[in-house]
């Protein structure tokens, strides 16, 4: 989002040449990148491994059950005006989550423009989008539970279907919920002006607030969104 940083006494070169000269230089490897932003990227790589392990375990588990796997387009179908429409709810959930990524990206833009009001409202909109997603997920879970799907068994086929479904969507839902909590906190912080005039110090630390934090939160939010795309593909389309 921010324009290319100007580094005193250091020439930033484009492409691989730039990568090599940045890596070979002193002080920082990622020039002009905020510590917190670098941390979030590395955390997300680690979290990618967590979700990858979950999904690979799911593939292995699904491949080795002796009992037939339930048909996802029947299990996840939703009745709309008396007609069962496959994947209707999931399509809505995905739409809401991806839209919330859009509002998040706009919030980051307005944050860097120091447009406090717009930034705050857009973060709030993102939070409400996330909350809607979690709400729809709760609806989906309760629907499946009413139909008899349990983590240890279900009437449609292999018991592992429920196990993996509840575990992985639950783990993802936890990520979304944590994100929503932080979105509300950050919306408050933006409206309260914690990032204005050099920033306010945090509790028990000397870190000062900066609008880059909105971008860091945005990275997390987009990641959660991206993970959902994979979960969607593996659970609902396979």
């Amino acid at each position: 989002m921010s324009s290319d940083p100007k580094i005193d006494g250091f020439e930033l070169k484009p492409g691989f040449r730039g990568m090599a000269s940045d890596t070979g230089s002193d002080q920082t490897m990622f020039k002009g990148v905020h510590w917190g932003k670098a941390m979030m990227w590395i955390f997300l790589v680690s979290d990618t491994f967590v979700f990858s392990c979950f999904l690979i375990a799911y593939m292995k588990g699904r491949g080795s059950t002796p009992v037939e796997w339930p048909n996802p387009s029947e299990v996840f179908a939703l009745d709309a005006f008396g007609v069962p429409v496959p994947l209707l709810l999931i399509a809505l959930m995905t739409f809401v989550l991806i839209t919330s990524s859009g509002t998040m990206a706009l919030a980051v833009k307005y944050g860097y423009e120091k447009n406090r009001k717009m930034c705050g409202w857009l973060i709030l909109a993102t939070a409400i989008g996330g909350l809607t997603f979690v709400g729809m997920q709760v609806y989906e879970w309760s629907k499946l539970i009413h139909e008899g799907v349990r983590p240890w068994g279900n009437p449609f086929g292999a018991a592992q279907f429920g196990s993996f479904f509840f575990m992985i969507t639950g783990f993802h839902g936890t990520h979304v919920s944590i994100g929503v909590i932080f979105l509300f906190i950050y919306a408050y912080k933006v409206f309260a002006g914690h990032y204005e005039n050099g920033g306010k110090r945090g509790w028990f630390t000397t870190m000062k607030g900066d609008y880059v934090e909105i971008e860091i939160l945005g990275l997390y939010w987009h990641f959660v969104d991206l993970v959902w795309v994979f979960i969607f593909a593996f659970f609902y389309l396979w």
Partner: protein, 613 residues
């Protein structure tokens, strides 16, 4: 020779000043130019009360010591457990309270404590926290608050782990690999609360470590001082940094397997549980894959070996270089070997599973990748030896531990080549040969580095020098004792004595193994007791020990060149150091002293062979 220096001298000068100023001047003050700081000074939270200064402290050095002491405490618990195991194996039935169940619990807890809660926490949490900011010239870790949380998360994990000794049924006795299905089935010791606490503790450890690991990585990548390039970092930092990268990518697999097993245990899912008949009755479980757990576990478990080994490689390189007064041989090769070993370690995990019934081609692939790791590892061993070659070696306690490490590591590495091959591994699998192998290579060898590092950095941390005589007693009893334990174990393995057995019963191994088991046990008691040399030494030194002069080993790296020794919060006083060279300029021809600190500018070294490195 002298002519060569002169030629080189002008060559270096012309090159460096040209690169910086763009003019070909011969001598100018510009030769010392280091570009200005990119970032403003880090604003630190200084504690004022006892709680903020020593308990919930945000100073990486205090956090490092906290990690170190907690890890040593769990390590002592692990040591006592090994004593109890050896008591049973050497003298079966002598201690009546050691039942078969207890024995399995001791095996399990000893393994898990030593690998995860002792070695990993000590190298990354202890040495990482203490040394990274000092060695790269930072005021502190980049996120001191998160760093503090990291330690306390680890502390809670240790408390929960220790609590499992006191719950009904005791700690889990499933072996440190926690293989399902037997881990959570009734009949395995600690299959109730014990395994649950173990899994919760591991999950907390992973979360706590992630917070610390992010700190170590960003501090190395984004918070180095002026002039500190990646290729001027001490190998200690390279080792700890690469190990942290491995941990950030390997621990997720442990976290996932812990979560899945917890669900299997608590709410009755069947991720890892196949259909099981128990006493003629079919259990609720069914359709899961136990092999899946093995893959997840070893995808964590094998990089874990290198998470322990790489910091040891890094630290020992620095110790050898300082105490042999010679630059490390092949610095760049050493760095690339560390990175290469780290990358390869993610492609070898299934060599722990040769007897799991896998496809032979799968075993062939993993045998190949395993043996490829021998290449960068051997490079490192040659480089250590070539660093010693014609060095001005000081045979002090630190150097003794380093030499002990090299020998032990080579020993353990060679048996690793045996076990890496499928056809040799299958008959040796689950025998004492395996026990001997991994204790040599990732037990004794890294512990020797830890000991060397303690003797080396103790003056920095406390301002006092440990007693050398006691240190040498400590080394020789530990070294000879450890070999007395593990050499005979190779033989036990060859005659087929299985590991993790409570006793030998009426097996044919009785005759030849009994005497050897007694001998091994006696040696194990001795080695454990020898560690009291160190504890006594530390207590004695803290009370009446010799005050260390500044930079007692005449080392170059930044941690010895702080404003005060031991360094205070903020590490470097008023001004951060500016780095002009690597930390290995020892015995440079033409230099006044036999060492050139990293902060020495080239203009003070114009008549030497290496004015700038």
């Amino acid at each position: 020779m002298s002519d060569e220096y002169e030629n080189n001298k002008s060559g270096y000068q012309a090159q460096s000043s040209e690169a910086i100023t763009g003019s070909a001047g011969s001598t100018s003050p510009d030769i010392d130019y280091v570009r200005p700081a990119e970032l403003p000074e880090q604003d630190l939270y200084h504690g004022h009360t006892f709680i903020t200064k020593w308990v919930f402290c945000q100073d990486a050095k205090v956090i490092g010591v906290q990690y170190f002491l907690t890890a040593v405490f769990t390590g002592i618990v692990g040591l006592i457990l090994s004593w109890l195991m050896r008591l049973q194996l050497g003298f079966p039935g002598l201690a009546g309270f050691i039942t078969a169940e207890h024995y399995y619990q001791f095996v399990t807890m000893h393994g898990m404590i030593m690998v995860v809660y002792f070695l990993t926490a000590l190298f990354l949490g202890g040495f990482g926290n203490y040394l990274i900011p000092l060695m790269v010239g930072a005021r502190d870790m980049v996120f001191p608050y998160v760093n503090m949380l990291s330690f306390w998360m680890f502390f809670v994990a240790v408390v929960i782990l220790m609590a499992s000794f006191f719950v009904p049924g005791g700690p889990t006795g499933a072996g440190w690999t926690l293989y399902p299905p037997q881990t959570i089935l009734e009949g395995t010791p600690g299959s109730g609360m014990g395994i649950l606490l173990m899994l919760v503790s591991l999950a907390l450890f992973v979360i706590g470590f992630t917070m610390g690991g992010l700190n170590y990585m960003i501090t190395v990548l984004q918070a180095r001082t002026r002039g500190m390039t990646l290729m001027r970092m001490p190998l200690t930092v390279w080792g700890i940094f690469t190990a942290t990268v491995l941990a950030m990518l390997a621990f997720p697999a442990l976290l996932v397997s812990a979560i899945m097993m917890t669900l299997d245990k608590v709410i009755g899912t069947s991720f890892f549980m196949p259909t099981i008949l128990k006493a003629g009755e079919v259990l609720e479980y069914g359709g899961g894959s136990p092999i899946l757990f093995q893959h997840l576990f070893w995808f964590f478990g094998h990089p874990e070996v290198y998470i322990v080994a790489l910091p040891a490689f890094g630290i020992v390189s620095d110790l050898i270089s300082v105490h042999a007064r010679k630059n490390i041989f092949g610095y760049r090769m050493m760095v690339w070997a560390i990175v290469g070993i780290g990358a390869l370690s993610f492609f070898v995990w299934a060599h722990h599973m040769y007897v799991s019934g896998m496809n032979p081609w799968f075993g062939f692939f993993f045998a190949t990748t395993t043996l490829i790791i021998a290449v960068p590892t051997a490079m490192k061993v040659y480089n250590w030896i070539l660093t010693l070659w014609r060095g001005n070696i000081r045979i002090n306690t630190v150097m003794l531990w380093c030499l002990g490490f090299i020998v032990t590591f080579v020993n353990g590495g060679i048996t690793g080549i045996f076990l890496g091959n499928v056809s040799v591994d299958v008959p040796l699998s689950d025998t004492y040969f395996v026990v001997a192998h991994f204790h040599m290579v990732m037990g004794i060898a890294p512990v020797m580095v830890i000991m060397g590092a303690v003797y080396h950095w103790f003056p920095l941390i406390t301002g006092r020098l440990l007693n050398e005589t006691l240190g040498k007693w400590h080394f020789w009893t530990t070294f000879l004792g450890a070999y007395s334990i593990y050499f005979p174990m190779h033989y036990l393995g060859f005659i087929g004595v299985p590991r993790r057995y409570y006793e030998m019963y009426d097996s044919p191994y009785m005759t030849s193994a009994v005497g050897m088991n007694e001998f091994i046990s006696l040696a194990a008691f001795l080695v454990g007791a020898a560690q009291f040399f160190l504890i006594f030494n530390v207590i004695k030194t803290l009370k009446t020990g010799k005050r260390a002069p500044k930079n007692p080993w005449k080392a170059n790296s930044l941690e010895w060149h702080t404003s005060t020794q031991p360094p205070e919060h903020g590490n470097f006083g008023e001004r951060l150091p500016v780095v002009h060279r690597w930390p290995y300029d020892f015995s440079v021809p033409g230099a006044k002293d036999d060492f050139i600190p990293q902060t020495t500018p080239p203009s003070e070294m114009v008549h030497t062979k290496v004015e700038k490195t």
